[in-house]
Amino acid sequence: MNEKNNSLLVYTLIYFGFLYIPVLFLPIFSFNDANYMSFPLAGFTTDHYEEMWSKRNLHKALWASVKVGVVASVVSTAIALLAAKAFVRYKFRGQNVSYGAIMMPFLIPEIILAVSILIIWINLGFPLGLVPVTIGHILFCTPFAMLILIARIEGFDFSLEEASRDLGENAWGTFYRVSLPLYLPGIIAALLLSFIISFDEFILAFFLSGSDATLPMYMWNQMRFVKKLPHVLALGAVIIVFTTFIVLLAFWLRNVGQGKEKQDIAIKL
């Protein structure tokens, strides 16, 4: 028994090692006083972080990513909310087909999605830039947001909405006073995760952004010059910390209130 447990522990450690050690190199080298990523370390410095403040193009790319991320996450969460509610609440003709259609961008290779949008966009005669990137991100984020929201809404007791109607609220009042507060943790989780997905996304941005670089595009561009590598490492380290925080927050929010009834002590009458 013991032996088996130990081998599983070793496996687990190796697994997490493969997963996270490369990621750890990024922050380590971002504080290294050298232009190359190699051992031994040359000394501690925060120069690479300071360098980020002066990069105009970096700021522009960051702002572009934030704009795209906010619009894409809000729009895809809104679409996902309506769709998730419909899928959970009602049985209708074409349900499986429309579910599959919404989930499709989740399954088909991103590069195919990117090329398809590119072809259509160019044939329509529109210029490349942040608009087609945002549209691509909305398509790409919606299935993620929908999966989160379906999980949230599936546990929802729809007699609560009927109770609200029964107590004199119309459909909007019911949505505002009952459904929205109860869906809210799921909605915020969906917003955060779609934002992160959009913020990190590279392939769609690569094909569709034209000259308006997003942050991942900016990083990719900088990688071609040896001298510019260190501040990209610093940027990468910052993004890792930020992304981890958001994802943890989203997962925490997703579960908020779900197990509440079990935790609370029912007081006997």
């Binding site: 007791d157 007699s159 609560l160 009927e162 109770a163 609200s164 109607r165 029964d166 107590l167 004199g168 609220e169 119309n170 006073r177 009952v178 507060p181 109860l182 209130g257 509440k260 009834e261 935790q263 609370d264 002590i265 029912a266 007081i267 006997k268 009458l269």
Partner: protein, 360 residues
């Protein structure tokens, strides 16, 4: 008092090919405790949801206190509902739950406070204002649901199996309490249940439903004593059915030939025609007598006890009567498992206790 407070006129509700409610018409009196009773899928809950406005009828119309509510949405109806699972809003506390429905009634803050305090006292929940649904027991949730509905002072309170989730002892208490409460406040209650004992013990009148239709609508004791058809006779309490055919009428009685037993004259409340073979006789287990010796009752049959079950307040005997190819159920408070030698006994029936029913 308004005899036709709630009018249900030719109401049907179809879901696809299923006729959940099938051309039903009746009236409910003002201030009445009215129950819709039937097995699951009989249409009772659909009828209640039609009254609440969660479903709209395929045909027919609904009136409450003289005004047509058929097309009104739930929030515009003078009804409030206590849901089967109580549907207490989990994100707000007890007090906010109770106040939920007062927002649009245009009351002053003082009036709201008074109404909330009164209703909390009525359902005995003072001191629980700050609790959330997760911190309440089943019985307390039920009281919150009741308070939340009653605080709006509806003309009609609809209750969808509100006691189903409670354990037996609490359920018995709440039955009594609900009944007292209803008499106290005088609001018309429409109560849905599948539990015949619950319906019989609480209601002024009961409508027994099956397959979307009303099988019988009467006072509880009438349902038990004078069932109008086989379904009601079978559903309310327990009974034995014996095949029979009618012969000639004799005033309000009729001559029947009960299969394997012979010819008897029984009462004919339902005015069943002569020479019909589509009839059965129903005899309640507790209306028969079981004894060691022969009796002088109208019918006395020698029988053999197959099985007994001891139920505390009474014992139920499953007996085989010589000549009748059917197990008869008899219950008795006076005998128990050890009372009979060699399992032989006599069962006696009074003709007055035989109900003649028509097969459908």
């Amino acid at each position: 008092m308004n005899e036709n407070f709630i009018q249900i006129n030719g109401i049907s509700k179809h879901f696809g090919n299923v006729k959940a409610v099938d051309d039903v018409s009746f009236s409910i009196k003002e201030g009445e405790f009215f129950s819709l009773l039937g097995p699951s899928g009989c249409g009772k809950t659909t009828l209640l949801r039609l009254l609440a406005g969660f479903e709209y009828p395929t045909n027919g119309n609904l009136l409450i206190d003289g005004s047509d509510i058929t097309a009104l949405p739930p929030d515009k109806r003078p009804t409030n509902m206590v849901f089967q699972n109580y549907a207490i809003f989990p994100h707000i506390n007890v007090e906010q739950n109770i106040k939920f429905g007062l927002r649009k009634l245009g009351l002053t803050d003082d009036e709201i406070k008074k109404r909330v305090d009164d209703v909390l006292a009525l359902v005995k929940l003072e001191g629980y204002e700050e609790r959330f649904s997760g911190q309440l027991s089943g019985g307390q949730r039920q009281r919150v649901a009741l308070a939340r509905a009653l605080v709006r002072q509806p003309k009609v309170l609809l209750l969808d199996e509100p006691l189903g989730a409670l354990d037996k002892k609490l359920r018995d208490e709440m039955q009594l309490e609900l009944r007292t409460l209803q008499k106290e406040i005088g609001i018309t209650f429409v109560f849905v249940t599948h539990d015949q004992q619950e319906a019989i013990s609480m209601s002024d009148r009961v409508a027994v439903m099956s397959e979307g239709k009303i099988q019988q609508l009467s006072a509880p004791n009438e349902l038990y004593k004078n069932p109008e058809n086989i379904f009601v006779s079978d559903f309310i309490g327990e009974t034995n059915f014996l095949k029979a055919s009618t012969k000639s009428k004799d005033g309000d009685h009729i001559n029947v030939a009960i299969e394997d037993l012979g010819d008897f004259k029984v009462k004919n409340n339902l005015n069943i025609p002569e020479n019909s073979s589509d009839v059965v006789c129903s005899v309640r287990p507790e209306s028969m007598m079981i004894s060691r010796d022969k009796s002088d009752w109208d019918i006395c049959l020698e029988a053999k006890i197959n099985q007994t079950s001891y139920l505390g307040e009474m014992t139920r005997f499953y007996v085989e009567v010589s000549g009748i190819n059917k197990v008869i159920t008899v219950s008795s408070q006076h005998f128990d498992n050890q009372s009979f030698e060699n399992n032989t006994c006599f069962i006696s029936i009074s003709l007055e206790d035989i109900s003649l029913l028509q097969k459908k």
